[in-house]
Each structure stands twice: as C-alpha cells, then as structure tokens.
Symmetry: C2
Subunit: 188 residues, 2 copies
C-alpha cells in the first residue's frame, strides 16, 4: 500500500499491551512502545491522546453497540430489560475475545491510573445509555438510575467472569446479576 507499514494504530495497541503486561504500565515509556511498533513517540501521540488511551480503543465501538441495542429494543421491554438485553449482547461479544479481555484486564487491575480511565469510560457508557433511554421516552431520574444501575451490574458481572477459572457464560452471569439487583433493592 503506502509508504509505511499499514495499521500503525493497531501496531501501537499491540505493542503497548505487550509492554504494559511485561514490565508494567509505569515502567514502560511511550518511546519504547513506539519503537516496538516501528514508529516514534510523536506518532504515538497523534493516534492516542495519552499513554492510557491506547488500551481503550474498543470503547467507542462498544458504546455504539450498546446504544443501538437499547434504541432498537422492542417497545414491550421495560427500560431495565432493554438495558439488560443490551449488556448481555455486549457480554457475548466480550466473551468471544476472552484471552484478550483477560490480558487487558490484568494490566488495568495492576494500575490505578488505568482504573481511573476505565471508570470514566464506563461513566460515559452510562451517560450514553441514559440519553438513549430518554429518547425512548423514559424521564429522569429513572433514565439515569437505570443506566447507572445497569453499568454497576455489568461491572460486577464482568469481575466475576474474569475471576473464574472455569469459564462461565458472561451473558448468563449478567442476567443473574440483574436478578440479584432486583432482589437486593426490594429492601425490607
């Protein structure tokens, strides 16, 4: 194709994940990542806003998936059911890339700055879900609460799935966690 090797972005993502895994996030310099990808530090920052963002390239696609799943859910579903169904299908997708998901999560779990970035991505997901619910006619604060509760369930289900040695079914864990949330909120 071009003058340069193709897929510079993908090479950077791959190199970063490998190096973060081998030597840790803090002990990896951006220059090292770039060198491993056959590029320079300056080019790294043309593709990614900062050193952390390189691990979150898939966040945008995941958000679009969730939003369109909720937007296209049948009207017969209640808001929380629509959100649950969307998260289950996202879970199914994640499950197909379990190896990658585990490696990535190990890196993130080892570093607080990366956890911060992950949390704000999840918050962005919740915000997008709430917007979509509002477009479905759900009013506030129900829309925000449903979205935030859904993301909380997803977080916890994902953690459990990652922690399991015998690989369980993620969508199933998500569904069970929603049921558990329902039981828990009843209170008395």
């Amino acid at each position: 194709m071009g003058r340069w090797e193709p897929n510079a972005r993908g090479r950077l993502e791959l190199a970063a994940l490998a190096l973060y895994g081998e030597r840790g996030f803090d002990d990896t310099t951006v220059a090292e990542i770039a060198a491993r990808a056959g590029l320079t530090e300056r080019t790294f920052f043309r593709y990614f806003a900062d050193k952390r963002e390189v691990l979150f390239g898939g966040a945008g696609a995941l958000q679009e998936l969730l939003v369109s799943a909720v937007a296209n859910a049948p009207d017969s579903l209640s808001p929380i059911e629509a959100v649950a169904a969307a998260l289950e299908s996202a879970g199914a997708l994640l499950q197909e890339r379990r190896e990658f998901a585990l490696q990535r999560q190990a890196v993130i779990s080892a570093n607080a700055e990366l956890q911060e970035r992950e949390l704000i991505k999840l918050a962005s997901l919740a915000s997008a879900l709430a917007d979509t619910l509002r477009r479905r006619g759900v009013s506030d604060p129900a829309a925000s609460l449903t979205a935030e509760a859904g993301i909380a369930v997803f977080k916890i289900a994902f953690e459990r799935w990652v922690g399991e040695t015998d690989q369980g079914d993620l969508p199933e864990i998500i569904r069970a966690s929603f049921d558990e949330l329902k039981a828990v909120t009843v209170g008395t």
Copy 2:
C-alpha cells in the same frame, strides 16, 4: 508556634481550589499553588500525591463516616436500608458545606482528569461499603451490588442537588432516588 506558618496542607488546598476556579485546572501550575500558599512545589508533592489529589482531602473522612454508619446500623435494617441511611447522613453533612461543595464541583465538572479522580474515589467508597456489608453477613454478589447501587444513587442525587437553584434537601433527594431505583429495577 513553629518555625513555619501552621496548616500547610490546608493552605495548599485553599490555594489550589481558588486557582483552579480562577484559571482552570490545566492553566494552573503546581508551582503557582505552592507560591500562593507560601511554600515550594516540592512541599506540595510531600502533602499530595499529584496535582489532582489536593481536591480530595475529604474523601478519607467521608469514607470512614459511611463505613461506621453502615457498621453501626441496627440489625433490623436490610443491607440496602443500611446503605441508604448512611448515604443520607453523609448527604446531610455535605449540605452543611454547600458553598464549598458547589465550588469544588464546578472545578471538577470542568476537567476530565478531575472527574476520573472523583470516579475512583467513589469506586473506593463502594468497595469499602461492600466490605462492611460482608462483615454484616451479607454475601456476594449482594454486598457488591448493594454498595454499587447505593453509590450510583448517591451520584445521581448529588448531581440533582447541585443543579438546583432552589436548594432542596439532599438527604430527602437521596431517599427519593432510592425509592425510584426500587421502582425502576422491578422491570416489567
């Protein structure tokens, strides 16, 4: 008293909040904060791990308050009721410092890095609450779900309270949001 002016930490917090408010987080250097507090940059980093942390000095106290409130809640309260009561009392405390809370929140809302830090503090709160629930005999995933749902409710209630011109009652908003969550999770 001492060789130095007392309360260096407090002076740094005050100077930082003022400068972040006046010129924005990005356009404020740590050296400027330190100078305003009559100290040096190096001393700033002895008190705070990084430039953001200076805004989160109260997080530790808040966490202790919540944990002890849940730990000391009467056994007659269900997990979610214990969490709700704890968050309401935290809300009452926040309400006493409304001016400060609003100013601080305006600064945080204007900057993504600060939002990240706030999110990880909230996640830490949720984690501490979940631990406390487990010590009360609640098992997982109910403990984690209750804690995360509680924090989600708190976030949304706080946002509403901040957005109001006619200052409503925060504990009341929190209680109402818990009720709304219950309604929303019922689903169908």
